[in-house]
């Protein structure tokens, strides 16, 4: 789920905070370089595995598995869903952001919160909310509706942050030059929003390619659901792995797009002083229709899933509230997610440190390497780890550590983004001052550096926690025998159409996600 949005909008500190000393460049501390290389290699395991496996399968077999009608159907389904959802999310996210940031819409503060809350509802819970009420949402139309309602905040957040950062002077100039409001919006504002909008949309695309639970429930087959079906029929056979290869290719295309966007120049404001707040557009007579439209949006995105969840909690015939099981699965979920947050943050630390404090070709390469997790669906990572651990590291097979490694590979980018920004904001000179004042290396780390980056570290950890607590596919494949999480129990019950029994697990996931989502939203705002 959620906000890897930060990279595209936040985290680029101005020139002032950049590491000051040129002389540090190129001389990488060896231990740091070695640790970072190791971390990046771990992050690349699944990608290397898929590549090696595909080569190993051979042309003929690969062709037999890839050139068949089913693949065409999956490709068509995946593409049309991803493109339409990206476009819809861009329109809805940008429109809503403009209304909240730049119009005199009544109740802006409340709308601002409501438009982000869908991120606290995992897409598969959203899907459950709909499909348990009506079968009409099965298939393309319903799938598009539901995933869009789940993911449009990924565009809303960066675009609203970007809108807040725009200097209205440009718009005023455009106005003064005789451009009308609409013309100014399309020719001045929109181009400036483009990086945030496209960045958000690409994230939506990546999330979609990895989405399993929501689409499986809606009976809308895409690559990810097909891989799972193959897994059910053949464990880790070649068909599953070949499909994974195609999916990874699609994801890499999107990731490449995102990286390019991120590298592009920003429309930063130059000059002294601070911009004054933009004048808000008056909605006038369209206020009521606009309010109705937003209310409809929130009803679809929040009202239906939460309402249906409440309905099943209260009336579900299979609801028995097995308190013991609920408590143990919650503890397992929280424990695993916390372990994942800790391990992932620890793994991200050396790489983030290296790339901020010792910029150079090697460190950039290592940093980029960790971002592939963004493009790897849980099922691909899990398949790779299952196969590798069975063949080479039996002691890790079906253990908590392997599951946590899986989480770490998947969610490393989330920790990296926050950490990198946080480290960049700590001037290296503070370390020097501490040293000069007689502090030891560890002393400096504990008393100066860590407190300064604690916020970023915490935000990154929260992001990972949030993602891990609702993770389904990797958990299904990798968890030790007897380990049940909220997500897997929810899945088991809802697959059996025992909606009432599934509801408590879904509700707990939403409850646990809510605080982390809130923190992150605040973080995403502040970091602008």
């Amino acid at each position: 789920m959620t906000l890897t949005t930060a990279p595209s909008t936040a985290s680029r500190p101005g020139g002032g905070a950049r590491p000051s000393s040129r002389r540090r460049r190129r001389r990488y501390p060896r231990a740091l370089l070695a640790t970072s290389t190791l971390v990046t290699l771990i992050a690349l395991i699944p990608l290397i595995f898929v590549a090696v496996y595909t080569v190993g399968v051979g042309w003929d077999e690969a062709l037999r598995l890839l050139v068949r009608p089913r693949i065409g159907e999956l490709l068509w389904n995946t593409t049309r869903l991803a493109l339409a959802c990206m476009a819809l999310s861009a329109v809805i996210g940008t429109g809503a952001a403009w209304l909240v940031e730049r119009s005199d819409l009544p109740g802006r503060r409340i709308w601002n919160v409501l438009l982000v809350v869908p991120l606290a509802i995992p897409a598969f819970v959203n899907s459950f909310g709909w499909v348990s009420v009506t079968a009409a949402v099965e298939g393309y139309g319903g799938a598009l509706l539901i995933v869009t309602m789940s993911y449009f905040p990924l565009v809303y957040l960066p675009v609203s942050a970007a809108l807040r950062g725009l200097d209205p002077a440009l718009e005023e100039t455009a106005n003064a030059l005789g451009n009308g409001r609409w013309r100014t919006f399309t020719r001045v504002v929109l181009p400036q929003l483009r990086p945030a909008m496209l960045g958000g949309a690409l994230l939506v695309g990546l999330h979609l390619l990895a989405e399993f639970g929501a689409l499986q429930m809606l009976r809308f087959p895409t690559f990810t659901t097909a891989i799972y079906d193959q897994y059910r029929s053949t464990f880790n056979g070649p068909a599953a792995n070949m499909l994974a290869g195609v999916l990874v290719l699609c994801c890499l295309l999107l990731l490449l797009g995102e990286l390019r966007l991120r590298g592009q120049a920003r429309y930063a404001r130059l000059g002294a002083g601070s911009p004054r707040p933009a004048a808000r557009a008056r909605l006038g007579i369209v206020t009521v229709p606009v309010l109705l439209a937003l209310a409809a949006l929130i009803t679809l995105a929040l009202g239906v899933p939460l309402g249906s969840l409440a309905h099943w909690l209260i009336t579900g015939s299979s609801t028995a509230f097995p308190v013991d099981t609920l408590l143990t699965t919650t503890a397992t979920s929280v424990g695993l997610a916390a372990a994942a947050a800790l391990v992932t943050s620890l793994l991200a630390l050396p790489v983030a440190w290296l790339c901020v404090r010792h910029p150079g070709r090697a460190s950039t390469l290592l940093e980029r390497g960790t971002y592939f997790g963004n493009a790897l669906p849980g099922i691909v990572v899990a398949l790779a780890l299952v196969t590798i651990s069975i063949r080479y590291t039996e002691t890790l097979y079906q253990t908590v550590p392997l599951l946590v490694i899986g989480y770490a590979i998947l969610f490393l980018p989330r920790a990296m983004v926050s950490l990198r920004a946080a480290i960049a904001q700590v001037p290296p000179v503070l370390d020097d001052v501490a040293h000069a004042l007689g502090a030891t290396r560890t002393g400096t780390l504990w008393r100066v550096t860590l407190p300064l980056i604690a916020r970023g570290l915490g935000a990154g950890a929260a992001l990972v926690f949030l993602a891990a607590v609702t993770e389904l596919t990797a958990t299904l494949l990798l968890s030790p025998t007897g380990t049940e999480t909220l997500a897997t129990e929810f899945w088991a019950n809802s697959s059996n159409i025992e909606y009432g029994a599934a509801a408590p697990y879904a509700a707990l996931m939403v409850l646990i996600s809510a605080p982390a989502t809130y923190l992150l939203t605040r973080e995403a705002r502040n970091s602008r």
Partner: protein
Amino acid sequence: MAVAAGLVAVALSAAACGDAGSGSGSGSDKPTLTLYNAQHDFVEDMAKDFTAKTGIKVEVRSGDDFELANQIVQEGSASPADVFVTENSPAMSLVDSKGGFARVDDTTLAQIPDSFEPSNKNWVGFAARSTVLAYNSTALKPADLPASLLDLAQPKWKGKIGFAPAGADFQAIVSAVVATSGEAAAEQWLKGLNTNGKKYQGNTAVMKAVNAGEIQAGVIYHYYWYKDRAESGANSKNVELRYFGNADPGAFVSISGAGVVKASKHQEEAQQLVAYLTGKDGQKILADSGAMEYAIADGATNNPALKPIADLDPPAVDPAKLNGPRVVELMQRAGLL
């Protein structure tokens, strides 16, 4: 920082607890068995009763037939599994074909009729289920129903039928069609089904769709309907069952198998568990569980609501000949997977 440290402590202790609770039995000298269970929940009830009677703890890893079967094959000599039970026999054959099973004890085999055992006796049946056509009784009258499962590939059923192709249940039914009609005919049939049918996640979803009138009929196993009728009927009140009989492929009776994994380090206890599953106590729990699957041991009594197993008139199929991987390949070719 303190908060973070506290969180970590909680995390680690929670993870540790989870481990200790599920880890191999400490304290007692009896080993803990690992059961790979592709069957429904009632097997866990059986395992609990087994533990109560013998003091041998059982850990259950759940999954689907072929998922777990392939997993055992991949795990090879390192497999943590001691006993494997499936919903359908093709997954048992798969493990057996790779030499994954130890021979079942003769006393255990003696508890089950020969017709529910493979010829090489490397695993044993412990439950059975019958293929049925579940149809919406307002949309279809008995006279409209097809005489054979194979008829569902005819154009007149286009858009009206459903099934769950990714599940091992349906794949077992397909394997019976392959065994009775041959591969070429089966492939034609599958292509017809792919054109005609809607694909669902599982048999419950198929039955629910029939009940709601989304489709007129669906291929499932009998017990989904009986179970729902026995509970509330919410998903089956508009649904009736058609038993094909006449040795039609659609009357296929699928055997749920149990076997001792060769790699198991607790052979004796594993044999004990399989003996229990096929024995009087285990079969009684199965018959009384409300699962509505057939108990098959000699002398077992099934729920009177069920059509007697002797009246099913299934096609003669040797369970050892049902080839799961080949069926999956055929289904891939037909576009069903």
